[in-house]
């Protein structure tokens, strides 16, 4: 309506900060690293980014609802092991290689099965958190342990190589030269971007994440919304597991280990707040691109692998600093926030005595 004032500009800038960073990164890496912007390397970035990307969607939903899903990486490893176990022929475990159960199910049966398994895991998480009033952090952390433990037990700690081609299509196939995983990931971002910005479900997730009490008083059911969010997160983690196994064609029991921090980092870098109720799917996408590009660059620059984690950690910390400042700025800008302290009666002073 009016020309944006300084505050609005500042807000727009903090909201879309990631895109500025992204352009900057492309320019710097493109100029300094030979072959960085070559087709092969771009494809490489996108392929490695796609598994991360799928998981970031699920995690973003959880963060927007002011929750966290630490179990997602456990889901990745469990569904990969279960899929291989159901599809591969039986053989004795030896030399750290294991065979399947022997049922040799068709991939077209296994794929829906593992997706349903992921959704079920998410549902159980959500149910325990919202209906049994358990803490989301501990619930999903414990769940990660359970899932990883199951994956190890089923695979006997061994790898299971040789998943069928039909199963590998999502992770390793190409359509007209473009990796299927990249197409699928971009498709998922479009779908979930639409869901979160234009559909009732998205509206409810933001409301519940920003203020659960007000959401309830507005006629929403926070429990139902959050359970759905976790179910979606579990489903997407299973999809990521399918994609990853398809690319590797070998089930490794520790698949996905340590992914969670990268996933949360990408979402936060993309502007999804840890404090809930804020951020967009498209922003999270930018966060994924950024992280995938940096990881790729660290590889190409031959950074000592011993230092890679330190650099990654630093990037995550910087993203968190920006997230924290953003909320502080928003809190200060509200002229109304302090008024509530005026009106109550003396018992709010009860803490001081």
């Amino acid at each position: 309506m009016q020309t944006p004032n300084r505050h609005d500009l500042l807000e727009i800038l903090t909201r879309h900060f990631i895109w500025v960073v992204l352009v900057f990164t492309v320019v710097v890496f493109g100029l300094t690293i030979k072959g960085y912007l070559g087709l092969a390397n771009i494809a490489n970035i996108l392929i490695t980014g796609s598994v991360l990307g799928v998981m970031v969607i699920g995690q973003s939903l959880c963060l927007m609802a002011r929750k966290l899903d630490l179990s997602a990486e456990g889901t990745v490893s469990l569904v990969a092991v279960v899929a291989a176990w159901l599809m591969l022929p039986y053989r004795e475990t030896d030399l750290a290689q294991a065979g399947g159960l022997g049922v040799e199910l068709d991939p077209l049966i296994v794929i829906p099965l593992i997706l349903a398994l992921g959704a079920l895991i998410g549902f159980v998480n959500g149910f325990m958190i919202m209906k049994l009033n358990m803490n989301f952090f501990i619930v999903t952390l414990a769940m990660q342990l359970v899932l990883r433990g199951l994956a190890l037990a089923i695979s006997e700690g061994a790898i299971m190589p040789g998943t069928p081609a039909a199963f590998n299509w999502l992770g390793g196939g190409r359509i007209a030269g473009i990796p299927v995983s990249v197409i699928a990931t971009i498709g998922l971002y479009l779908v979930f971007g639409f869901v979160m910005s234009r559909m009732q479900f998205g509206r409810k997730v933001y409301a519940v994440g920003a203020n659960e009490d007000a959401a309830r008083a507005s006629g929403f059911s926070p429990a139902r919304t959050v359970i759905l969010v976790y179910t979606a997160s579990g489903f997407l983690a299973a999809l990521a597991g399918w994609m990853l196994l398809g690319r590797l064609e070998t089930s490794v029991p520790n698949l996905g280990i340590g992914l969670t921090l990268n996933v949360v980092a990408a979402a936060v870098i993309g502007g999804v707040s840890l404090k809930g109720g804020e951020g967009s799917i498209i922003g999270a996408f930018a966060g994924v691109l950024f992280l995938a590009m940096v990881n790729n660059a660290l590889n190409l620059m031959n950074v000592d692998p011993l230092w890679v984690n330190a650099v990654r950690g630093l990037i995550i910390l910087v993203a968190l600093i920006i997230d924290a400042q953003k909320t502080r700025y928003a809190g200060r800008a509200g002229p109304s926030a302090p008024t509530r302290t005026v009106v109550g009666d003396a018992d709010q002073n009860a803490a001081v005595s």
Partner: protein, 512 residues
Amino acid sequence: MAETRALARSDMTLLDMRGISKSYPGVQALQDADFSVRRGEIHGLVGKNGAGKSTLMGVLMGIRAADSGTIAIEGETLHHASPQIMIDAGISYVPQHINLLNTLTVAENILVGNLPKNRFGLVDWQAVNDDSQARLSRLGLKLDVRQPVEGLSVAERTMLAIAKALFNDARLIILDEPTAALSRVDIDLLFGFVRAQQEQGVAFIYISHHLEEVFEICDRVTVMRDGQIVGTRAISEINVADLIHMMVGGGVKEYGRESAAGHEVVFEVQDLSRRGAYEHVSFVLRRGEVIGISGLQGSGADELAQGLFGLERMGVGEVTIAGEVYRPGSPKSAFEAGVAYLPQDRHRYGLVQLRSVRENVTYSVLDRLVGRLGVLMRQDEQAITEEYIDKLGIVTPGPEQRTLLLSGGNQQKVVFAKLAATQPAVLILHEPSQGVDVQAKVDIFNIINDLSRQGVAIMIISSEVRELIGLCDRILVMYEGRITNEFSRAADDMLPEDILLAIEGGPGDADA
């Protein structure tokens, strides 16, 4: 002994606060307030909720910084105020809900942080108990020091808190609603103890809504209203009616509205009870009628509002809307039955502050805005938002503005818009004018007036008696969980003094 008495009763000023002002954005919480307490005096401080008592006490305790004004204790001006400075100056606060270490014994609570040790460096429990027992006897307080605090009655805890303050050399003790949860016997016990300390020269500030008790124990009383000190009187020179008159004020232009009440009963509550909250509540609400419900904290009015909207359990009894049984299990079912609720705590229950005006206004009607496959119809959404921005005069740069960035009054209007969009049959408003500026108040009253003319039955729970008188066709007063009095415009008996007296638990009329 005679000497101490003379000193205790002397007119020497202990505390002198001058010209204290404090403002928050949009609200002048304290305006040029002068307040003084003499040595060895029990000084009552009364006023409605929001009159400024808690802000004034906050300044005195050093937890709120005043914009201007001075505080002097025994003639010595304090240049900085912090909680520690005030405690060192001998000012202590005893809250309504006593903070003690409940699982520890009385003795441990008294000596906490300073427990006597034996030569092995271990706590010498014999000394702990003997020492604390001796200290309590000096104050004339008979308590078993070996008993855990959780076993004490509320009155005993209050006295223990006062005793602890005295052990820390307190000279002025602020008692905040000390009798709210006490029986008459316990009140006598507590008052006896307080008077005994007064004899020793300790001064008290006594904050209470219970005016009879103010008359019973105080030497002087100061009345606050709208952030200002109305006056200070010796208790012997004033009666209850005058005191209430000072509290409500007069001569201010009231908001007046024409009644739009019809005959058709829209909402009927029959014998509704919820344990620990309210008992045998019955009333009817007619089409277009506005009724007010007022009561002290703990009178059950707040709980009633939340119960009727399904935010809490409603309890036992029958409620009907247009003849049909109404039992909300959640706010969602309340909305569906045609009941909407404006919460008292706007920031917690009213607004999703991080989200835009558009989103907040349409939360309550999302189900109606859903097209195929759960996609929201953006144009309808936009239209509703703009309609209410226009109708209610919400001042915002646009529908996409985050509600966080709006003023209190405009935030409240956004909540109103959310409710009005559901086109409710019954509207429950909980302190609708709280935390908004004067202009926004008038706007909100106009909104209430418009809605009632459209036939909405409105129930306002508020402690702002004067506002209720201007807005309501009838006012019900709740005291200790029951509706004790009814005032109505028709009977021409809506007098602020009478209503306030009823709210404080004064003589109820028999027919209510």
